[in-house]
């Protein structure tokens, strides 16, 4: 007798059933790190159109393709000059250990780019290692110190992030060590809830005045970035520009986090692809494209992603998760410790537990010692360099002598959805869904 194959419900898949059981048993929503796990439209759905007869390419290893970018040219006396258009995104000391912050700073500096602080303030390690450090002004203001504001190269007002637009940060109690607690003026061991709104301003008019205050406190020297999560980028980008931002940092839905509710990561915000297009259109409407620089983040993993993001109109990209993976996140070492967390290398998103097997997202000194700072810095520098070389390879093939010369005309989409979201033609057609009445 032939047995019938098992049939599973599409609506109530084994994963959904397991999650319902977990919620019913524990009475708490799922909290985790990393970013979205489900497939989303992304830069993978775009291709670059290399040169042939109608365009001519640059020689791959001989002709120059410049990569430098200046951020903060609008108002700041001292704009930030980067050798590559790839920066390290804000990640908190607390979510990350000191060794990880140190390695990121050293690696980024060797590659000629910047790093960014995070919730919880500026650690001595990252200041010492980062030649160019962006200091975040977050809703929580944990550890906010005007001396650090003066000691940084740029200021980033964080309104939101892609993993949780509209939500505040979260750091569970087992990562709140005495040092982290001290920096944040909080009791050790509590589940720390960062505010989702700033304590001293509400809305774009207030933000204008807040930016002015920060400029006044630093004598108008430093560029002011405004970071937003991708929910309504057309409006939010224009309001940030109106408020006086030098740079807008837009974090797409694929952006990572150290810890937040799963429902937030998977169900809030829009993917990086449409967010970037809307942001560029918003800047163009104001006549501010390239005058206010646009940094895009959320799911950047390769030089191809970098090239496509710049072709769509970004001035630079920012990486977080990819930089941690370069450091060793999800690497197949200490496999038994992954197993103890109920996971395995390649599938770990347990940053929230503080038990990071490779010593990156932990405050445990034993685990943290597993991260060799010098080796980590070397890997980060290498990765940033490879991203840059890959982007240059594609740009030269498109005939561009600077990464910023890439343009939407160099792109085609592989799916109707990506064509609509990115605003580039479906490959093999002139059709951009939503344009010209179609």
């Amino acid at each position: 007798m032939v047995s019938a194959p098992r049939r599973y419900s599409a609506a109530f898949s084994p994963e959904i059933i397991a999650e319902i059981e977990r919620a019913a048993d524990g009475g708490l929503y799922q909290i985790r790190g990393f970013g979205t796990l489900r497939p989303l439209p992304s830069f993978d759905d775009l291709v670059l159109l290399g040169a042939s007869i109608s365009r001519y390419p640059l020689e791959g290893y001989r002709e120059r393709c410049a990569t430098d970018v200046t951020l903060g040219t609008r108002f700041a006396k001292k704009p930030i000059e980067l050798k590559i258009p790839i920066t390290i995104a804000g990640m908190s000391f607390g979510a990350l250990g000191a060794s990880a912050k140190r390695a990121l700073g050293r690696g980024a500096s060797a590659a000629g780019t910047s790093t960014t602080t995070g919730d919880g303030g500026m650690s001595e390690e990252e200041r010492a290692e980062s030649k160019i450090l962006i200091y975040q002004v977050l809703p929580s203001r944990y550890g906010f110190d005007p001396a650090h504001l003066r000691a940084c190269e740029g200021i980033e007002i964080v309104v939101g992030q892609g993993a949780k637009p509209g939500g505040g940060g979260m750091l569970l109690g087992h990562k709140i060590t005495e040092r982290v607690a001290g920096m944040r003026t909080l009791p050790a061991g509590i589940d720390q809830r960062s505010a989702c709104r700033h304590p001293d301003w509400t809305g774009p008019d207030d933000l204008t005045i807040k930016i002015t205050e920060l400029r006044e406190a630093t004598d108008w020297e430093k560029p002011v970035f405004v970071k937003i999560g991708s929910a309504r980028p057309r409006y939010d980008v224009q309001l940030a520009v109106k408020a006086g931002a030098d740079v807008v940092v837009l974090d797409g839905m694929q952006g990572g986090t150290g810890a937040t509710q799963e429902v937030f990561i998977e169900h809030a915000g829009i993917p990086t692809l449409p967010a970037l297009r809307q942001a560029v259109e918003a800047l163009e409407e104001l006549g501010m494209h390239r005058k206010v620089q646009l940094v895009i983040s959320g799911g950047i993993r390769s030089g191809a992603d970098v090239a496509k993001a710049l072709a769509m109109g970004a001035d630079a990209v920012s990486i977080g998760t990819a930089a941690l993976v370069a450091l060793g996140c999800n690497r197949a070492i200490h496999v038994e410790d992954y197993a103890a967390l109920g996971t395995a290398p390649g599938a770990c998103h347990h940053c929230h537990t503080g038990r990071c097997p490779v010593g990156i997202t932990t405050q445990d000194p034993v685990l943290e010692n597993r991260l060799d700072v010098a080796e980590g810095a070397r890997r980060v520098r290498n990765f940033l360099t490879v991203l840059t070389m890959e982007a240059q390879t594609l740009a030269r093939a498109c005939g561009k002598s600077h990464l910023h010369n890439l343009e939407p005309e160099d792109l085609a989409a592989l799916t109707v959805e990506a064509a609509a979201m990115a605003g580039v033609p479906l490959a093999g057609t002139d059709w951009i869904p939503g344009r010209n009445g179609y």
């Binding site: 009475g27 504001l149 589940d191 301003w201 005045i209």
Partner: protein, 227 residues
């Protein structure tokens, strides 16, 4: 005494002059006239200056203050002395919302009333309000003391951490996880000391103390309704 007329000079020029004063300089006493509600006056000070402002100020007056003494002879807009680190800031009139927000040290004195969210996210600052405070005051207060000689609005101390709140008058309602605590002799001494530093005459024994019930410090389903 150096006098700066903001009808003739810009806030930017004033702040840059104040920032440039070094340890060896003797230009310690400043008077600012005609502020006319301008924003960001005397922000980011780092030297032990005495800055007297004759008139009303806008947003963020004395923001991020360290070491300086700033006195406003008028009313203050939103975010007075936000993130103050040390020194003192006094307003003879009223202060708008978010006074002393996220302040980490020093003393902020408001002789009149303070509006909503006074002391929001406070992290060590001492705040003394001669009058009343608006709703959500000391919201998410982490450390420090808020002393209110008048009444407090709704949701006082919502989501409070370890800041202490002392109120002499009525409290409209307490916020999530805020509860009344015993007022000990040490607390009375503490309030009396702060009132003395603030030069506000009030009987410390009249105050009641409020603090965190600490029920929301770790996530638990039984406390979900508190949020």
């Amino acid at each position: 005494m150096i006098e700066v007329d903001l009808a003739q000079s810009s806030v930017r020029a004033l702040n840059q002059r104040l920032h440039r004063i070094g340890p060896g300089d003797d230009q310690r006493h400043w008077r600012v006239v005609n502020p006319n509600g301008a924003h960001a006056i005397a922000v980011g000070l780092t030297a032990p200056l005495h800055v007297e402002i004759r008139g009303h100020v806008g947003y963020y007056c004395a923001g991020m203050n360290a070491a300086a003494t700033v006195v406003v002879d008028g009313h203050a807009g939103t975010g007075l002395a936000e993130n103050i680190m040390s020194g003192s800031v006094r307003v003879h009139g009223n202060a708008a919302q978010s006074a002393a927000a996220s302040g980490r040290g020093g003393l902020v004195v408001i002789n009149g009333d303070a509006s909503a969210r006074c002391g929001i996210s406070m992290k060590g600052v001492a705040i003394v309000v001669g009058g009343s405070v608006g709703h959500m005051s000391a919201f998410m207060g982490q450390s420090g003391a808020l002393v209110v000689c008048g009444d407090a609005g709704d949701d006082l101390g919502d989501s409070l951490y370890e800041a202490d709140i002392f109120v002499a008058g009525k409290v409209a309602s307490l916020g999530a996880d805020c509860e009344e605590k015993e007022m000990t002799a040490a607390d009375i001494d503490h309030v009396a000391t702060l009132l003395g530093r603030a030069q506000i005459a009030a009987d410390a024994r009249r105050f009641r103390r409020y603090g965190s019930a600490r029920r929301l410090y770790n996530f638990h389903i039984d406390h979900a309704a508190e949020y």
